[in-house]
Amino acid sequence: MKDVRIGIVLFLLLFMSEISAQKFELGKVSLEELQEKLHPIDSSAAAAIVYKAGKTIFKYDYEKGFYALHECQIRIKIYKKEGLSWANFEVPYYVGYESMSDDVVKFSNAVTYNLEGTEIVKTKLNSEGSFKKNVNEYWNEASITMPNVKVGSVIEFKYILKSENVVTFPAFNMQYSIPVNYCEYKTEIPEFYIYKPVATGFVKVNTEQKYEDAFQGYDNQYRNSSTLKYKQISSIHTAESIPALKEENYIDNVRNYTSSIKYELERTRFPDQKVKDYSITWEGVAKTIFDNKDFGQALDADIDLVTDLRFILEAQHKTDLSQLEKLDVIFKFVQQKMNWNNHYGYYVDKGIKKAYVEKTGNTAEINFILIRMLKLAGISVNPVLLSTIEHGVPVFPNRTIFNYVIAGVEIDGKQILLDATNKQTTPNVMPLNTLNRFGRLIRKDGTSEEVNLMPKTTLNENTVLYVSVDEHGKIAGKCRIQKSDYPAFSFRENNKGFNKESYLEKLENSLNGIQISDYKIENVANLDKPIIESFTFVTGNHCEIIGGKMFINPKLFFTNSRNPFVKEERQMPIYFGYPKQKKYQITINIPEGYLVESVPKPIKIATGENVGLFIFNILPEGKIIQISFTEEINASLVSSDFYEVLKDFFQQMIDKQNEKIVLIKV
């Protein structure tokens, strides 16, 4: 249930024979395709990809060796006006290599087909509809806008992406926001390269593979034509009737669930050369990363941290600092001193020495400095690689899935995760986008182990209300809200440059228009302590007087009346980020001349597997009503099988909060 692998459907492609690749050819658009008014399966589709055929082959160049050509042919049918945007198509390509030529993209065979009467009319794309732009120093983008596209049109085009980077192929997407009728991806890989194709998503992919002879011509060093003969592995992956991908709330990253095929280089085995491992196991990945000069060497860079370390530890004026105390001092020092330049990565850019002097750096530089200092202080610490939410889930060992590195400390057999790039984090409380299932702790000797990144359960939000109701239904009282760990982190993140007046205007509005005075907040800058807000308030909006009776919601202005889960069904798992535990203790003093007529019944609801827990207690005693609410979601990620249960759980919680306390005039 709470397994970190929830919902990631991923499989190594199984090989089977006898699949029939459908024959599609650019330029052969049929009358039926043009006449079709609605997509036969999904009538709401604004457009559909009739077919998408990809092919990756290798070419040989005497000087540069093998390079890859990724070809893609697409035919799209437009059914509705909203589908017209599919007449624009973009392909990003990488231009930021250090020692390889830039990728190149070329579009061709781009034609729009329209039906005029019974005649098929073709309009070709010429250069005026084709563009290139520099996005930034690493990426360019090639795009086309097809001519003469209207509702009913069929468009098709082809592009070739040439790349010397053969370590990973661009992901071949099989699923889009519109349906895909047929999709195939062929690869022809020379025997010198061994790849691992991995598919993600819910769609069934068929695969067939052959080992065959191959050859190609190239110009040798004397500009003479030569022929290279070798064996190749040719594969074809096909899928049919792929439904459109639908947006959902409470999702980590929709790409985790989108069907696609990705090829990762496992190893190379050129004749007369040693087999070179790229990535096969997590150990392999860890070792490859560690062996890179911008990781292992950079982590060990010559840098003098001893002076500063001694200085900050001595400043504690305590001789026998425990490991935990040292960790705390060092973490705060690095967090305060270093400033993140908003660049991710597990490789250093300018190196930790320069970063330390400039007091700025990327994720790797800042956390490497932290790791080095902790090590110097005799604390057992190793880097932990992880992938941020935007970057996708690291399910299968591969080189490019990680994009972030933090520090993993072990003290007395307990693991503590640290990220010093953010100014609001504390030990074991990390930026929300790093809470992505699991990371990989790697050691110098190349061994590695999995680290669960999902936060553990603790009570983290506590609200105490003490109120009096007067005979006009006006409610006045005091409120104290305490937030620790993740809620406190989020509060600090969201309220940087805290402006009290603006914040109170927002708070009053979010609490249903109560009027706040005497607002105090504690520990905004003291990260070790919880955020404590306290204030007094009055409100005329939270008691209804109907026919001599007063009706009050037991949770007052904290009443929640919206279920976040409204959709009838759901395919993707539900992502909460971190477990949430909230508690409310409310004391209500009822006005003179009134008695409690009825109160909602106490209730306890627990879902299976301890995912959700809701307890409501109420005790009227004379003029005082004591109320308590406990609300818990004890999981970060919940499987979609649980959706119905969860939706129902939220609804029951909301219904109970909206039942009234009834006071009657005596």
Binding site: S44, V149, A315, N339, G547, N563, D655, E659, V662
Partner: protein, 636 residues
């Protein structure tokens, strides 16, 4: 705490000896009043504009910003746009710590350079350079200097002494130098209540100094920035735009220049297309009916694509290119429609305006290059019919909320003319809801409703029809978020484009709408249209507040109660009138035991003073409380 103080002195000690110190940038010199509500303080923002000829202008900026916290970073605004006609001559920045010690120098090569194309634009040749600096402490001060040179003197940047919320200004200076013969002119706005001195105002020189302006808070329902904060617009009578000289003293002359120099020759079409248009309109004589047929043709044929090339994005693509390719931006599609209309003898005019849901005028008293959008005007009696040519769905002549009720510039061959576009009156922006629902003895709701939207309310609903089923469901679940357990059983739409009217018919159900406890059922009779917008309480509001578009909602709902229950309590009829509008509810018991609920809410558009804001908040609070008034039934 102790550690940090110690460290600070150590580091300060080091930097002292190595780098320059500028005491004038020390934060200790900022007066306390300028720190109130401020995330950053503009110590100095000096802009020197030198126009040396009709085809040359340089803009030098020296900006000293003290950033007090992370939210103040955007006030540095160290970014310059450039393109083929505008070059960045110099750009550099220095960073000082709180005490005025130099921390870093950032040279031109350390600035980042990037394409200015957003994801919605397919192509554009403009780029920008910007400062990518990671602060190592707060507060700190940035001194930013840049120099731009351009031949496009048609656009002299507007001067905003205050250009950000939550930023105070110690000093802001503008200096302009211009040759006497180019007809330099300016217009000042909203100077009252701000300390701005005019130092120099001659035909060749202009300069102002603004000082000690407190940080402005952002407040809901405020008019836009340029309506409340000071600004100066500037322009030349003899100007230059992308290799074309221009001259205009009046809108008439401006329109003529635009027509002759930019638009002329762009509406040529092939004989074949012209003939096709003539066949399309057939024998029709009425120019408006002809225009309707042509507009429909354009909507079917073309689509909007943003491509910003050619005269600074001001010259449209040729009409015959649009005809061939079937796409274009707003200028291209407007111009294309105009060309097609020409072919069937219907005159029409390109119209320049600000396209935005916030109504923004072309400043009619100040002749200059303005606007960001183009539509088409067709003379219709003594008025115009306006066409939004980028939309494939808009009804003919409908202006929605993107181009309605604002001053625009109509470009006629004989000259330009300022005209106001169509105002959708508050009483015409209607939403009429009629329907029924019944409650079972378990409190379950089963209902059907018809909602008819017109005027500017049509604009918000028109796209509903084309949404994906899941998006439709999401829309209704949000619209009726007051009904828990809502299920949408059926939806149907009819879009009457002729009368600009959208009709939605919806069938819904929801278990436990009526809350039962102790033999009583409690629920809000008004299930279908609860006013959900909230108006924040704002302490010491300074800005006026504005309701840009009024509207009228009328509801008539029949509620069938379960036989097993009798009415114990029904809310009283209620009526509320104020300058902001009127609200009225009625509960009528019918003989058959059902209740007829009638409700009307009318909101006036208008500009109101800061002190009226709280009255408005109370008005809305009353409305929303009465919308939620509960009824109680007792089990018989």
């Amino acid at each position: 705490m102790k550690i940090r103080i110690l460290l600070l002195t150590v580091f300060v000690g080091i930097t002292f000896s190595l780098k320059a110190q500028k005491n004038e940038y020390s934060i200790l010199l900022i007066s306390d009043s300028l720190k109130v509500n401020a995330n950053a303080v503009v110590r100095l923002n000096q802009i020197d504009i030198v126009i040396s000829s009709q085809r040359n202008m340089t803009i030098s900026t020296k900006r000293v910003i003290t950033v007090l916290n992370e939210k103040g970073l955007s006030a540095i605004d160290a970014v310059e746009n450039y393109n083929k006609k505008t070059t960045v001559k110099d750009i550099e920045a220095y960073v000082y710590d709180g005490l005025g010690n130099e921390v870093r120098k950032i040279k031109r090569k350390d600035f980042k350079d990037q394409s200015a194309v957003g994801s919605s634009t397919l192509f554009s040749d403009s780029r920008y350079v910007y400062l990518d600096y990671t602060p190592t402490q707060y507060p700190f001060t940035v001194v930013y200097e840049s120099k731009l040179e351009t031949s496009n003197t048609a656009f002299i940047p507007q001067w905003y002494p205050v250009s950000n919320f939550f930023v105070s200004v110690e000093k802001s200076v503008l200096n302009v130098d211009c040759p006497v013969n180019l007809g330099f002119k300016k217009m000042e706005f909203n100077f009252e209540n701000f300390n701005i001195q005019k130092i120099n105002d001659t035909p060749t020189q202009l300069s102002y100094t603004a000082s000690n302006i407190l940080a402005q808070k952002q407040e809901d329902y405020s008019p836009v920035f340029s309506f409340v904060l000071p600004k100066v617009m500037m322009a030349l009578e003899l100007f230059h735009l992308e290799d074309v000289d221009g001259s205009a003293k009046t809108w008439k002359e401006f329109g003529q220049w635009y027509s002759d120099e930019i638009l002329s020759g762009t509406t040529v079409l092939s004989e074949e297309t012209k003939a096709k248009m003539r066949t399309l309109v057939g024998e029709e004589k009425d120019p408006i009916i002809k225009a309707k047929l042509i507009y429909n043709y354009v909507q079917q044929k073309s689509r909007y694509v943003s491509i910003q090339v050619g005269i600074g994005g001001w010259k449209p693509m040729y009409a015959n290119d649009v005809d061939r390719l079937g796409y274009g931006d707003c200028k291209a599609l407007t111009n294309y429609t105009k060309a097609l209309l020409e072919a069937v003898g219907v005159p029409s005019y390109n119209t320049i305006l600000y396209g935005d849901s916030y109504k923004k005028d072309i400043e009619s008293e100040f002749v200059s290059m303005q606007g960001n959008h183009m539509i088409l005007a067709i003379p219709n009696g003594n008025k115009y019919t306006w066409l939004e040519c980028t939309s494939q769905d808009d009804p003919f002549g409908y202006q929605g909320t993107f181009t309605d009720d604002r001053n625009v510039l109509v470009i006629k061959p004989e000259g330009g003319e300022i005209v106001r576009t169509k105002l959708y009156e508050d009483r015409d922006n209607t939403q009429l809801s009629s329907g029924t629902y019944s409650l079972s003895k378990e409190g379950d709701l089963l209902g059907e409703i018809t909602i008819i939207s017109e005027g500017s309310q049509y604009n918000q609903k028109a796209m509903l029809e084309n949404l994906q089923p899941t998006e439709k469901e999401a829309h209704y679940k949000k619209y009726w978020s007051n009904i828990s357990n809502l299920k949408i059983n059926k939806t149907a739409f009819s879009n009457d484009k002729e009368n600009v009217r959208l009709t939605e018919r919806t069938e819904i159900s929801a278990v436990n709408y009526g809350n039962i406890s102790g033999g009583k059922m409690m629920f809000a009779l008004n299930a279908y249209n609860q006013y959900t917008g909230t108006v924040k309480r704002i302490r010491n509001r300074k800005n006026p507040f504005e309701i840009q578009r009024g509207f009228t909602d009328v509801d008539e709902i029949t509620i069938v109660l379960p036989h097993e229950f009798a009415i114990e309590f029904l809310p009283n009829n209620y009526e509320l009138k104020s300058k902001f509008g009127a609200y009225k509810t009625e509960f009528i018991k019918k003989d058959n035991g059902s209740i007829l609920y009638k409700r009307s809410l009318f909101i006036n558009k208008g500009m109101y003073s800061n002190t009226e804001y709280d009255e408005y908040r109370v008005f809305i609070e009353q409305v929303s409380r009465n919308d939620n008034a509960k009824t109680i039934l007792t089990k018989i």
